[in-house]
Amino acid sequence: MNPLLTVENLVKYYPIRRGVLPRVVGYVKAVDGVSFSIGRGETFGLVGESGCGKTTLGRAILRLIEPTSGRIVFDGCDLLSLNAKQMRKLRREMQIIFQDPFDSLNPRMTVGSMIEEPIIVHGIEEEDDTHGIHRSSSERGGAARKRVFELLDMVGLPRDAASRYPHEFSGGQRQRIGIARALALRPRFIVCDEAVSALDVSIQAQILNLLAELQRELGLTYLFIAHDLAVVKHITTRVAVMYLGEIVEEAATEEIFIRPAHPYTQALLASIPIPIPSRRHASRRLAGDLPSPSNPPPGCRFHTRCPLAINECSAAKPGLLQVFPDHKVACIRTEISLASTARQ
């Protein structure tokens, strides 16, 4: 099956400038050579701790941040070769849902005008206009209104929400508004950037269910960025684990939960709190902090914190290799790490 989105060797470096006459003294390597592809209708999870570059990656895919190099192919179209006008047109196909439901809604716009905005920006419903029927602006306004109500129904908000302002809503409701806005242009692909991280657990479940429902109804494809593996387990079909700007492991969701191969993935899984006291085990905590992405460790970037690291780990960077069918890992100690999880 040909994928909807393919990312090849995507790189985003931020230059660090110093001095009176600023010159570049180094780079923050936020995303450093990431490749993956997402099939149609799939939910692809991207996990990693704060600062690993997952948000930068999500935004670079939509060209909200201009990538330094690499290739992004969306439905056969190379995004980085498009000019600004072509890109704007393609934006209706791909949307984003944000983490912070307070930051992501303009406090001075009503919910209705916010959801209507994309429709106005792109011109009303082209499928209707192709019939050569010229409609007056009030008729067009009516059509936009109708679409706003449709979207509010879709995300489970009352229709009278349209005339109210964002501050009148709770976090979960605000996230629904953000989803309605993202759906307004009937996109095929949505980046959910930590879409539920800021919500209470009970509300998280509601929003996750809503996203899953919308995916079934509208045939959406998601890139689901999260730091919470429990959330990822619930909604995704495939998962990639990111560490310091690189993907260290990629596999089907079930596979990664049953058979995590990279020591970092194992540490992440061990950090999920288990609500059953008898099954609680001494979690393998990672020592130390995330190293600076402006000066990543040589070789395997994880070796400074890895419990299984040996000298060779700092010598050469391990490639992302297939260890099981549809399961790739970048670690030279895979066999040992697999054996250690098998024992547990």
């Binding site: 939509l62 909200l64 209706r92 912070d100 001075r108 716009m109 920006v121 792109h122």
Partner: protein
């Protein structure tokens, strides 16, 4: 709202009314009519504020002087804030080289001139008239608004709703009008009311130096200038215009401070 802010609104409102209704309160003829026999007459029941060095009614001149002060104040604030908003928001929103040229170079060049000296030089060059005075004060005034709006735009453009608008395919113009401006304009109201006070004071200063409004239009600053020879013999000539300038400046400063406290959530009490 504190009583001081309320007082500011009442006084400023009365001054604006005074300026707007001045033709009803005194005729232009009263302003101009000279009675040299009655020059420097002290206030009495016929001429409430007395007469000036040419025997003109001081009350009428002060009422018409309000027109000049308000006209200059409002025009300067309007022109320089519109200019400042456009340049500042554009510079802050665009960032990069645009911002470096505007904020790094242009703003600093204008900030480095002593404002009132630049205005004096401009009026001396263009010739004294209300129009040239307004132009000169706007030229020195816009930078303050531009700096403020640049800082606001820099802050607001980082919000996710701006990123969302870009993700929707909205153009820069749309984003600035719909998202950046409505969320960054608030502190401008404070700046504008303080700027109003500054402009009124600057007009008085320029007129005092003879670079403001030419005769026969009365201006408070000019009236103080004319009174210089009679400070001891006829103090009412400078007391009343001086009082008006102080009242106008004070009232707009009160309004500015009051609004700042109200609009700044960190000072919420």
């Amino acid at each position: 709202m504190s009583p001081i802010t309320k007082a500011g609104f009442v006084i400023a409102g009365s001054l604006v009314m005074l300026a707007a209704l001045s033709p009803l309160l005194a005729s232009w003829d009263t302003v101009q009519r000279q009675e040299l026999t009655a020059r420097l007459e002290a206030p009495d029941s016929h001429h409430l504020l007395g007469r000036d060095q040419l025997g003109r009614d001081l009350a009428a001149r002060i009422i018409y002087g309000a027109r000049v002060s308000m006209l200059v104040g409002i025009s300067v604030v309007a022109i320089s804030s519109v200019l400042g908003v456009i340049i500042g928001v554009f510079s802050g929103y665009k960032g990069g080289w645009t911002d470096r040229i505007f904020s790094g170079f242009l703003f600093n060049v204008f900030m480095s001139f002593p404002g009132i000296l630049l205005a004096i030089a401009m009026v001396a060059f263009l010739g004294p008239s209300i129009k040239n005075l307004i132009i000169a004060l706007s030229v020195i005034g816009w930078v303050g608004y531009a700096r403020l709006m640049r800082a606001q735009a820099l802050k607001v453009r980082e919000f996710d709703f701006v990123t969302a608008a870009r993700a929707l395919g909205a153009g820069d113009f749309h984003i600035i009008i719909k998202h950046i401006l409505p969320n960054s304009i608030q502190p401008l109201i404070v700046q504008a009311s303080l700027g109003m006070a500054g402009a009124i004071l600057a007009e008085a200063g320029m007129s005092f130096l003879g670079l403001g409004v030419p005769e026969p239009t009365p201006s408070w600053g000019k009236m103080i200038d004319d009174s210089r020879e009679f400070w001891f013999t006829a103090p009412h000539l400078f007391i009343f215009p001086g009082l008006m300038i102080a009242l106008a400046v004070l009232s707009f400063n009160f309004i500015g401070d009051g609004l700042r406290e109200r609009l700044d959530p960190k000072q919420d009490r």
